[in-house]
Symmetry: C2
Subunit: 206 residues, 2 copies
């Protein structure tokens, strides 16, 4: 009953995995074709250029990542549970996709065109301005009520991003430089999740 996947899709799936693990520059269309089990010409038949193939995959990942951030903004009983819930969501999402942060960072840092594209097609969309305004309003009302330290909204987001994202960026270094097993890494992630939550919450107290 198993329907054979069409080549177009298989190429895309294999390409995604390779781009993800090796980056754009280090992945060749020849390698993609080889792992798919077709000729290199077929990759170009479907996607014309390597850049084209990459862009489709890259945007899909960006959208998925932004989706997680969007869903983290939801009603809770208090600002503290809201923040700790958001951190927990980011950590869990990245734990099942630990190479995503480096993949996105690498391609955005090394290619200004991709930054421009992301800015014009995502950052400037009203949805993201609304997201930030909602968060900012929430922060200001909490501060007015005296339940929150006098910290800027942007700083809260930057600190949470720094602490969570860097954990995953440095994971290969943690594992190899300190010679840790996969189990060690899992324990480390769970441990950091708790400590980061504690640190951020303590930093938000008036």
């Amino acid at each position: 009953m198993e329907t054979k996947e069409p080549m177009e899709l298989r190429i895309r799936e294999v390409a995604q995995e390779l781009f993800f693990n090796q980056g754009f520059a280090a992945t060749s269309t020849t390698q993609i074709a080889h792992e798919v089990g077709c000729t290199q010409a077929l990759v170009h038949y479907y996607y014309r250029t390597k850049e084209n193939l990459f862009r489709q995959i890259f945007l899909e990942q960006i959208e998925a990542a932004l989706g997680v951030i969007g869903r983290s903004l939801h009603e809770t009983e208090s600002f503290e549970t809201f923040i700790s819930g958001a951190i927990s969501m980011y950590f869990d999402a990245l734990s099942s996709n630990p190479r995503l942060p480096y993949f996105v960072l690498e391609e955005l840092v090394s290619n200004p065109d991709r930054r421009r594209y992301l800015r014009e097609n995502f950052v400037k969309k009203p949805a993201y301005a609304i997201f930030y305004m909602q968060f900012d309003t929430l922060v200001k009302s909490e501060q007015k009520a005296g339940r929150l330290a006098n910290v800027e909204s942007f700083d809260i987001l930057m600190s949470i991003a720094s602490l969570t994202v860097f954990t995953f960026l440095s994971l290969p270094l943690y594992q190899d430089l300190l010679e840790r097993t996969d189990t060690d890494v899992q324990n480390f992630l769970a441990h950091r999740k708790r400590e980061i939550t504690r640190l951020v919450l303590q930093g938000l107290r008036p």
Copy 2:
């Protein structure tokens, strides 16, 4: 009176700048030679391989970075001033070298051989075990005296590294995605330095 620099050194300086800004993979010996004003063969005459040339430069940068970390461990009047002084030193060192974190991260993440080399030649050296033990002893004595929250030494280092390093890793994104000027970036860095110091210190309070 100006002595003409020997070619060997000029090649190295130009290579350093290019590797720094573009990474190892994206920099060719042809480009190095072109910017130096010599032939590509001369680059290989002096350094034999591109990897060889890179390694010398890379290790120099690693040593410089580790040197800053080493110098940050010094006597102060209190643990709080010690921590805020260290953060300040890291921030200032990176401000005059903002691409260093990405350069080091990229090469270590993308090349397991470099991680192995760094581990065997630096991480395993007694000097770094001593550095960590000194810090750990200091933390434990502060905790015994009730002046410090019950946080593991490694977590303190990880959180400081996350907050400072990620700031510089994400600088191109901050600038381009939010369309900030160079002056904006300078103000942003100064602002984050203060906020990160505040957050870490508050997180260390019992």
